[in-house]
Symmetry: D2
Subunit: 353 residues, 4 copies
């Protein structure tokens, strides 16, 4: 039960390993008659693609997407849409040295304990490359949401402890670290460079904002929009924390500060809650943030063990980003878009819109 | 689609409103031949029950649980277990004044936008009373996990910004605020008293630790244990943030610090990851923390609107905890226990244990 | 994993055993603002209730339904609706003699093999009494479908090989065997009486017709309306066969006969297909039939074994219907109504109606 | 919500249209460390492949399967297995004439009503070609079941009303109509030839037998093995009826005949029930039969309408089997194998085997 499916009505199933023939995704439940813009979809993949800036791995993948099903004359038909990305620049030999070693911070040990077998090449199924399939799926979700006036935007708001509270998501794409505050972005770049020189890595915080979501999306109890967003974002490999709205900062406020007052006729005076109340959207911006741990693959030698339990030192070479947060932005956006699209369809089933 | 079911193999469906005849839960997929200890189950409910300390609402509910199905001579049979709690001290009149007002921080507005109707009495389905059903279900999960050596323990590690990094979960039950550091607990109590005197409320952080979880539980990709725990905890009404392991603090570490080194034969030198790698348990302690916002119901007057969109002032009287974190401990534990129990059954299906 | 939940958007979870404290059902996903008519719901339960005619068991159960949740001032709120029926006339002593014997045709042996434990009293979870919860749920589905112009009607079209091809479902309720052809119904009654005198039982065929279903309900591939109806009906204990439209008779036709020609503007010249093409409703009547095996509980002595594997003779006394087909009519209707209601909500999610 | 996923623990998602680039399937939840035999898998596809005998369509498809993911050195890893079949001999021009006509017996009209768009080329998603993906998935399930001693065998037991009660499934592959009684098979072939000469088609009955299934698989209530098999088989396009064991014939027996007596120590004296009691396997052979309607595509002119509602005559040329039952055998086997494999994993989760 490897649970590679996300969503209830828009069901997204990803498949593929880092060094297998291909990665891909099947989207089942896509509403019919969407003119799917494959160029826009490709543009999203290009945002996540390796090699796009000096801060990302040098692995060369064009990540050209191919649609195997679900389209007729460019339109969705209601049938499952299968999107495939073929792997090309997989250098499995880079990984021969670590075939029998467990890389710290990676899923090597746990996959072996769970399945009794592991595909060590490039991390196999646990590779960050799996997220390309999510970005492809998320690009479909974006196109479904756009006619409703819903847009999903992400940016990096912190790297290595350097916060950018004034970052504007609209400006993030102009920065190699995807921070929408050019001054702070410069300092973030320096921190990353420093870590790289040390054979080390740094972490960061990615924020995703969804605009135009009407009130009424999300379900009570276990289907709260907050909970589904938490699942969505925490399912990204490097993410170890999720906040909605002011999140942990709310725990240090009083109720009189934290509660968002309502203003006539049905607006709000603030948005500490991040656009949900009781797990249902309020009509305000949805705000979610996720904690991205420092890249686990580092050149510095680390202490580990091999498959037989013997101690070993490991230095993870290969091609790795010293900070994964900037490339995680389109992935986090994709997961938010998929979550919202699913909530929209669920709300249609209830009889709303 | 209100999505009141949690879990894939151990499926938990809660029902009931704050002021309806009863609350309850159906557990489907409970393994057979468990001698269900209803006293132990009741003891868990008593931990969450209102009126247990001066920091909790004065509402009097015995919360006596009744099993309607699924037992034969005290043992589970594999059939669905239905547990019911009858409401007794529901004072719906307390809520008449707010029938047409939207309480800030509550789900009043969003339920109405979603469903076109709302049960305003005590918050209806969005009431914290719904979590009593979760605690009952979680108590069953605890009993299923105990023979495997798995125990789930929670404590309050921060209230109103007052942190208790040295709190021991074993000592938490002796404190009215469920903090396992008596000195810090005293300061937390004072902060709560102060807020109450101001007609205000405070928030906090609850940490849950699971011990004895073997390596191999949890699934890759969308079924990561981190993701399922995030869903589980974020589905609790007052929770607006979730961390696994060091969570957001990891974003300010370097990879060389954040990676947990492995030590022979298959242990770890630290646990920054909180007991999971790649979404699968490592065999270490599972550590999850959640951000609890300050109680939304406060006596202080707040600005809001009524159903017609006219501005109004509101002071939420009734019986409310000035800080919900202590009572949330057994709820968070229950959600973690249910998540782990489900992961255990899933791992059995895969062929592991 | 006992899988007591049916449906994707309207999720129905039943619980309860024949001789436990209560049976019940939780309906999650009920659209809001339905004025639930509890009298009409009770009337459906009365149709299934034992003791209603000389052909049914003499067990006295009033089957009075109680709503524990999900209603506010008589209207559904979108929250889960829990309906409970308390057991009253459970005579567990009747079953003491068979505690260690496996009744032929019953689930005694298989439950024990599956779970290692069984509740032998009245069949436990495998009892026909479980279907009362389905009828209650189906009654809610009927009320949701009624405003759409969809009605679900069942009748007995064959008993003991005596067919009633001219039976009209509208007239079925006037007959104790629920056959809408009074002449044939008389012969069916005689066949049942004869079997009863022999300490034996007979089977039959129940047909359910749904009128007013618009074109477009049901999904392709695994979600075909035919397939979901087959699941729904075959999940009823005594049912061992299901047909849609002309079913098995189609296998003896040629394509030129079996194909339903279309007539302008978008009607059909016949309905051999039973109202679906490619698993999606055509706008014609939905026609489903199920094969009901003869009641397994018979007074005649039968050969069996006990729990230790020793041979034994068994005569199943107690209170049993010599033919279960008539009482199965409201159960089959309920399952069809639930299936259709779920398909309607799914079609709303797709963007249709 | 097109519902292209089957199964709970072994989740099978098919994608692809008759005339699109490719068909395929993703299997999620495949237990790890299976040495997948791709030749055996291809052999199953070859059984379903068009052009294999004079009774099947002349469309030339090699149906060569390619594994895109989920394997490492030939073994399953627990990751999703994606299998793809590229379409080669798609002659979309054959279908230009019927672009605006609704073929009787086909899903043309209903897909358009449901989705507002249809891919008319070769039936699009409703094409029988989709079942190639099921056969590929079923071949994986067979390989998972084989080490448990479970084998799934199908045969044609009736065509055009010509029954073969003595057919042996072991001998079926030697017959072009897949009937394991050579004398009757000859008569079936003649009936098919006759229909073909008339530009018409005939139907039949396919029986699938599963041997070696231990007692205890399948769930009570809605997860009955009977019900899941009914769903599985009725989800095949041409199937309009399903029976378990003696099915509809049981309705004409008395209880004393229909009940299978038990013989020491825990066997049965007969198998009218088809290997299940209360929806759970008994340890006997599982027996399921399905009614296959005559092929809808016939050369004979039929009455229909076009998209504007105007009457039209239609003669469906192209390449079609005059009787689909023989080619449906491997498809029905695949669906039974998938159902059983899923029930096996579910039983492991319960704690059985």
């Amino acid at each position: 039960m490897s649970h590679s499916t996300f969503g209830r009505l828009l069901r997204v199933t990803t498949f593929g390993e880092s060094h297998g023939p291909a990665l891909g995704v099947v989207l089942d439940g896509v509403p019919p008659r969407l003119d799917l813009d494959l160029h826009a979809l490709q543009a999203q993949l290009d945002r996540r693609r390796p090699g796009a800036s000096r801060f990302t791995t040098a692995r060369k993948e064009t990540d050209t997407v191919q649609a195997l099903s679900g389209l007729y004359e460019g339109q969705t038909t209601g049938a499952p849409l299968c999107l495939v990305l073929h792997n090309r620049d997989a250098r499995s030999d880079d990984y021969a040295a670590i075939k029998d070693l467990f890389r710290p911070g990676h899923a090597d040990y746990t996959f072996l304990k769970k399945y009794g077998i592991r595909d060590h090449r490039g991390g196999g199924r646990a590779s960050g490359r799996e997220t390309a399939a999510r970005v492809a799926a998320g690009a479909v979700a974006r196109q479904l949401l756009a006619p409703l006036g819903v847009a999903v935007l992400g940016h990096v708001v912190e790297i290595a402890g350097i916060a950018a509270p004034a970052s504007r998501p609209e400006d993030a794409e102009q920065s190699p670290v995807r921070c929408g505050d050019p001054i702070v972005a410069q300092r973030m770049e320096e921190a990353i460079d420093l870590a790289r020189q040390d054979g080390d890595s740094v972490g960061g915080v990615v924020e995703v904002i969804a605009r135009g979501v009407p009130a009424g999306w999300g379900d009570p109890v276990f289907g709260k929009l907050d909970a589904l967003l938490a699942l969505a974002l925490m399912s990204i490999g490097a993410v170890k924390g999720v906040e909605i709205g002011d999140g942990f900062a709310l725990t240090r406020m009083r109720g009189s500060q934290a509660n968002d007052p309502m203003v006539p006729p049905d607006g709000f005076g603030s948005n500490h809650a991040g656009g949900t109340l009781g797990g249902i959207s309020t009509g305000q911006e949805i705000v979610a943030r996720c904690a991205v741990k420092p890249t686990s693959s580092i050149r510095q030698p680390q202490q580990t063990v091999d498959r037989t339990g013997k101690p070993a030192a490991i230095s993870v070479g290969g091609r790795h980003d010293p900070c994964i947060a900037p490339r995680l932005v389109p992935v986090a956006e994709a997961m938010v878009a998929l979550t919202l699209c699913d909530a929209w369809l669920a709300q249609r089933a209830v009889g709303g819109s």
